[in-house]
Symmetry: C2
Subunit: 155 residues, 2 copies
């Protein structure tokens, strides 16, 4: 909520308008059928943690709650990272690129790892000598965090 209050000064309707106006001018949701790629970077370590996709709704929910929220292409619904695991991504800032078709989200991860496989970053495999090699050790046990396949799917 603190983030929300920092972003918008007026009453709820004015807030929504002040956000939507510049967003609709700059952001291009059309290239990917209503979605924009969103890169999440740890605001402190600068490690890239994950890439997701945001719809307008996902972006608005991210801004109003301060919890980074995506649109799941496979489940066709919004999902807030951390709703199942508790490992929320606390929003620090959002930037967009020259074409307005990608977002760079700086966030502070609440948990030890963002990846549902137990790693700090989803990018835990690097190409070496023609093969993908793990570049990190597990930060937590995903089986203890995601008790069912359903919650694992939700992350």
């Amino acid at each position: 909520m603190l983030y929300f209050e920092q972003m918008f000064a007026g009453p709820a309707s004015a807030r929504a308008f002040s956000f939507m106006a510049p967003m609709s001018e700059i952001l291009d949701f059309d290239k990917e059928g209503g979605l924009i790629a969103a890169v999440v970077q740890d605001a402190n370590t600068r490690r890239v943690l994950m890439v997701g996709y945001m719809s307008r709704e996902a972006l608005e929910k991210t801004l109003t709650t301060g919890h980074v929220t995506f649109y799941s292409r496979s489940r066709r619904q919004l999902w807030t990272k951390g709703d199942s695991s508790g490992h929320y991504l606390h929003l620090k800032s959002i930037a967009t690129d020259c074409d307005g078709d990608a977002l760079l989200v700086e966030a502070e991860p609440a948990g030890p790892g963002v990846c549902h496989n137990g790693y700090y970053s989803c990018f835990y495999r690097t190409l070496e000598d023609g093969a993908w090699v793990e570049n990190d050790t597990r930060a937590y046990n995903p089986d203890a965090v995601y008790r069912t396949q359903e919650t694992k799917a939700k992350r």
Copy 2:
């Protein structure tokens, strides 16, 4: 070429095979119609520079030349960042995420800026108080680098 030689030890045919086998097992090019989102991060400063899309061909060209190469969705062809501007992205490493549907490319930019608008990073606008605000100054004059609209489109 040094990068290429580091990656593959055998003759050309063996190299291609050793690369293709693990790539086809892990990477998911199907979600975006043959493309994977590729985040480029400065290997030294850790700043995220841009997001592009790679086809299998673009990834192979990136690996064999050491110059980061994308597939342009608007022009429907490969484009090597720097071919017009000289601002090549020298490949340092490539990681993939848990789902195999995104790439994280660490690179050293040859020029002062990656963005065709003259900025160091394409993510030069940050959302502040409901509006997009420039968060950086221009690193070079794009009109001097991209002489025609055609070369600007190619970047």
